[in-house]
């Protein structure tokens, strides 16, 4: 809570606002980069901003934000063009083209940076801050500039929403509609460069790629539609930005960029684990519940089959025999079925242990489970015997016998109802 108390401080409020803005813009445009599998273009763009920062400083002769951002944007766009040139006109593949572009632009950037530091007295100008970001360097005037650029980028996304969406998901379809796909792709690349550029001051050139990818990757886990994903990515970006900026402002000497990146990465980790539907934990839980219900269904059917084999729907099966027939321990499955009122436990003979039989509800459910598979008498060997779990179909005499018996004794209604259907056995 102490963190949010900091918001009362004017400087801190400026920084937090700026970080939120950076996060929102990066989240929105990062969503498109992520979906188009262009995440690493963000890496190339952000490294390539370094020479632009230096050139902007060199030409303007001061640490004014506008020329620096313009320079970064221009070299970023040049780097993207270099990637396009290399991949489209030579046999160099995308990954090498990205690496070439990233490392060469960055190399030239370090040369320029050291040149400025040694010759132009730029050591005090704090150009280093653009490497890892520095929250304290942000002043309200910078915030207005960043806000304006960010607003323009977001407005452009809103206005071309439909075109961006169709180009992202199905560029061929967009082309067939007569949309200017190449222009849209280029525009999107420029806008991603803008998102990178406005984050330079807070996050730095090296780690800005993470703020483009991470919020979008986290949002992707929770959302099924582009609209939701983009909004959520904006939210995640803002949360990462504000949290990172506040921690950086409250603890001396911690660089802002790495903090923001760590918060965003933590959001990704949480999303990968917990997001409903796609999250790892969620899917593990779902798999477990499916295994449980599959076991329960199998056991119901087994009990039903044993009943059919003995001409007695209420046949009392001994638990040890059920274990053998089921191919595993059944005690906990039976207890769960008992709680749901589908089976009943009876002490048949005291020395023989527990016996189980189907209740009326259990009988009904077992029939309902078998119904879609059909049990035509004629298909007894191929069909019915394999209607149960495959693992058992060919193994024991008991299984085959029960299967054959079940189809022979199947109620007429069942056989009739499924007469037109293909038996399950053949295909599986």
């Amino acid at each position: 809570m102490e963190l949010f108390g900091l918001l009362g401080d004017f400087t801190v409020r400026t920084v937090a606002l700026g970080a939120a803005l950076v996060g929102v813009v990066a989240g929105v445009l990062g969503s498109f980069a992520l979906l188009r599998q262009q995440s690493l273009l963000g890496d190339a763009l952000s490294h390539a901003a370094l020479p632009g920062v230096c050139l902007g400083f060199l030409l303007a002769g001061s640490r004014r934000l506008e020329p620096i951002l313009a320079g970064a944007l221009i070299t970023g766009a040049l780097a993207a063009l270099l990637v396009m040139l290399l991949t489209r006109t030579t046999r160099i593949k995308t990954d090498a083209a990205l690496g070439v572009s990233l490392s060469l632009f960055f190399a030239v950037g370090t040369v320029l940076l050291t040149y400025l530091q040694r010759h132009q007295g730029a050591a005090q100008a704090g150009l280093d801050a653009f490497l890892f970001g520095q929250a304290a360097a942000l002043v309200p005037r910078d915030l207005r500039v960043l806000g304006l650029i960010g607003a323009v980028a977001l407005l452009a996304v809103a206005l071309t929403w439909k075109e961006l969406k169709v180009t992202t998901f199905d560029a061929d379809f967009a082309r067939s509609l007569g949309r200017p796909v190449v222009a849209i792709e280029f525009g999107l690349t420029v806008m991603i460069a803008i998102a990178v550029v406005i984050g330079l001051q807070l996050v730095g050139v090296i780690l800005m790629v993470a703020l483009v990818i991470a919020p979008a990757a986290a949002a992707r886990q929770w959302a099924r539609r582009l609209e939701g994903m983009v909004l959520l990515a904006a939210l995640f970006g803002a949360v990462s930005g504000v949290t990172g900026a506040l921690v950086s402002a409250s603890v001396r000497g911690l660089a802002t960029g790495p903090l923001i990146v760590l918060v965003a990465s933590a959001l990704v980790a949480v999303s990968l684990l917990l997001a409903p539907g796609r999250g790892v934990a969620w899917q593990l839980a779902q798999a477990a519940s499916q295994r449980r219900s599959l076991r329960a269904h199998r056991l119901l059917v087994d009990l039903y089959r044993l009943g059919l084999a003995h001409d007695d729907p209420r046949y009392r099966s001994e638990q040890g025999m059920l274990d053998a027939y089921f191919g595993g321990r059944t005690a906990h499955v039976l207890r769960r079925l008992q709680r749901r009122g589908l089976v009943e436990r009876v002490e048949h003979m005291p020395e023989e242990g527990a016996h189980w039989l189907l209740t009326d509800a259990g009988l009904q459910q077992a029939r309902a489970l078998l119904e879609p598979f059909g049990t035509r008498p004629a298909d007894s060997s191929a069909g019915a015997a394999r209607a149960g779990p495959a693992s058992r179909a060919d193994s024991s005499d008991g299984g085959a016998g029960a299967g054959a018996a079940s189809s022979a004794d199947a109620p007429a209604a069942e056989a009739g109802a499924s007469g037109a259907d293909e038996p399950l056995g053949g295909g599986r």
Partner: protein, 323 residues
């Protein structure tokens, strides 16, 4: 002996030698990365190696223990493993997985430096620019000679890499061009891939002092890429890559002296000049292609239909043979 010592005592000689060794060691491995479409993994590794170095420093309190190299190599392989894990979870694509893992590890490393290692030579500028200019100040005795420590380190690493490529040439070649055949022959291409990336990590540690973590990427990717435009034979690609690396070290040093700028940065920038030449004049470069296209029996227009810009399968083994 004294002549050799006198030669080694010139800082310029030591610096150029270190740069050349970094370049040779990096571009030998880089050639395979470029062909396997895993170039960007070198970027990821070169960033996260810093975490290994910082953790080893926090454990031992020194910057040159064997643990230093081991920690960095583990961090590099850990990056690859984490990236692979994310890709196999099928929740993010390869490019995003790379871009998620290494910034997180790098950010952690920078913060650890901020908090614990403020006063040591591990400052964040060194990470980016390297300190090759001061490499000759730190010397060790080897066989009666005073030799810069970085030079010895890089010499050992380069020899290991050369041995690796020479001894496992056939395996590397097969794993790179036809992983399925390699598997069928029982060669374990995945293991070869991890060995390759492990050596990239170790080389990154060595290069870290010389040219900085990020400029190392230039030496890994650019010389092999330029060579790729010049030849179709693997061994020639390796040789040309090494030659470009040595040339860049010489040219970069001269340029850096003339302009008084970062030596590592100048060396890395010089590799770009070689790429430019290869791009224009190479067998697969622009001029040759354009002239071929203008010839009477021109092939079908190449690139008339816009090809997708989406990155290829970066962390997956290359599936196609080289044309």
């Amino acid at each position: 002996m004294t002549a050799l010592q006198g030669w080694l005592d010139q800082p310029g000689v030591t610096i150029v030698l270190i740069g050349a060794l970094v370049g040779i060691a990096a571009s030998l491995l880089g050639a395979f990365l470029v062909l396997r479409r895993e170039s960007m993994l070198s970027d990821a590794i070169s960033h996260s190696v810093l975490l290994g170095i910082v953790l080893a420093y926090l454990l031992t309190g020194t910057l040159d223990s064997p643990l230093h190299v081991a920690g960095a190599a583990l961090a590099g392989l850990g990056t690859v493993w984490l990236t692979d894990l994310l890709v196999r979870s099928r929740r993010v694509k390869t490019d995003a997985a790379i871009g998620l893992v290494f910034p997180a590890l790098f950010a952690l490393a920078v913060l650890l430096i901020n908090v614990y290692a403020r006063d040591v030579h591990l400052d964040t500028d060194a990470v980016l620019l390297g300190e090759i200019a001061f490499a000759w100040l730190d010397e060790v005795q080897v066989g009666g000679l005073e030799v810069a420590r970085s030079l010895v380190t890089m010499l050992v690493i380069t020899l290991v890499n050369v041995l690796f490529v020479v001894v496992l040439y056939k395996e590397l070649k097969l794993a790179t061009f036809d992983a399925q055949l390699a598997t069928a022959l029982g060669l374990r291409p995945a293991l070869v891939g991890y060995a390759l990336l492990g050596l990239v990590s170790v080389t990154a540690v060595g290069a870290f002092d010389a040219v900085g973590a990020i400029l190392f990427v230039a030496f890994v990717i650019v010389p092999p890429t330029a060579a790729y435009l010049l030849t179709d034979r693997l061994w020639r690609m390796l040789a040309i890559g090494c030659a470009i690396a040595v040339g860049s070290s010489l040219g970069g040093y001269a340029a850096a002296r003339a302009l008084d700028v970062s030596i590592g940065g100048a060396m890395a920038s010089t590799t770009g000049l070689f790429l430019l030449v290869a791009l224009l004049l190479g067998k697969h470069g622009l001029v040759v292609r354009t002239r071929r296209r203008g010839a009477p029996r021109a092939p079908a227009p190449v690139g008339s239909v816009a090809t997708p810009v989406a990155p290829g399968p970066i962390a997956e083994p290359a599936r196609e043979r080289r044309a």
